[in-house]
């Protein structure tokens, strides 16, 4: 006899108080290992990703997500959905980590550089930055 069956014999909704349980229990079988919450951590939830993204990246995410959901509906396969969530979760993390204002400026500067081939004013070479940081390490 399994534990679940044993509980069903000794504890029912009617006699639960009389057999010594301090709270109501259930004999219903449970699946502790495969809840949606465990499969999908909070940072991978579509709403968390959507809320963390800015403007055009949010639109790109929603378009990709809806396409992936439609594909999953046809194929009964969630792989594409999970790929989209993982892809945009990384972008959402960077957005949150460096802040919306810096992230937006980054995307604007990238778009400008892609159009013109030019780095924005104030940019420096890695050698200069390396020398500055090495000086700090030497102190």
């Amino acid at each position: 006899m399994t534990n679940a069956a044993a509980v069903a014999v000794v504890a029912t909704a009617e006699n639960v108080r009389s057999v010594g349980y301090r709270v109501n229990v259930t004999a219903e079988p449970v699946q502790p290992f495969f809840t949606p919450a465990q499969i999908l951590p909070p940072e991978l939830s579509p709403t968390a990703i959507r809320d963390a993204l800015i403007d055009e990246e949010r639109e790109e995410f929603l378009r990709a997500y809806h396409e992936a959901i439609a594909e999953a509906d046809r194929t009964i396969d969630l792989t594409r959905v999970l790929e989209v969530l993982t892809n945009y979760q990384r972008i959402a993390w960077l957005t949150k980590h460096q802040g919306v204002e810096v992230h937006r400026r980054m995307l604007d500067q990238v778009a400008h550089a892609q159009r013109t081939g030019e780095a924005p004013p104030g940019s420096v070479g890695a050698a200069e930055m390396r020398a500055l940081l090495r000086k700090r390490l030497a102190r």
């Binding site: 460096q98 990238v110 550089a113 420096v124 930055m129």
Partner: protein, 86 residues
């Protein structure tokens, strides 16, 4: 060998790196000067867009950069570090 350039925000972020991250950060700069194609895509749907290179013992550092294939320059646009001590 490619010329690596840092945008202003990336400079500030690099200056904020902890001391124990700097050596692996320098190694990552070396990688970008030689083989920028080794980075992962920032957005898998945009193969010509930004890329990312991880650094640090636990890969908690990330350099985000632009390297269109016709360029001889690599533009670092962000340097982030995840503090794992907390």
């Amino acid at each position: 060998m490619y010329e690596v350039i840092l945008y202003e925000d990336a400079q500030d972020q690099a200056k904020a790196l902890p001391d124990d991250a700097l050596l692996s950060y320098f190694d990552a700069l070396d990688v970008l000067e030689l083989v920028p194609e080794n980075g992962l895509l920032y957005n898998n749907e945009k193969p010509d867009g930004l890329r990312e290179l991880l650094f640090g013992g636990s890969k908690q550092g990330k350099i985000t950069y632009l390297w269109p294939r016709r360029w001889q320059e690599v533009h670092i646009v962000a340097v982030t570090w995840l503090d794992l001590s907390g």
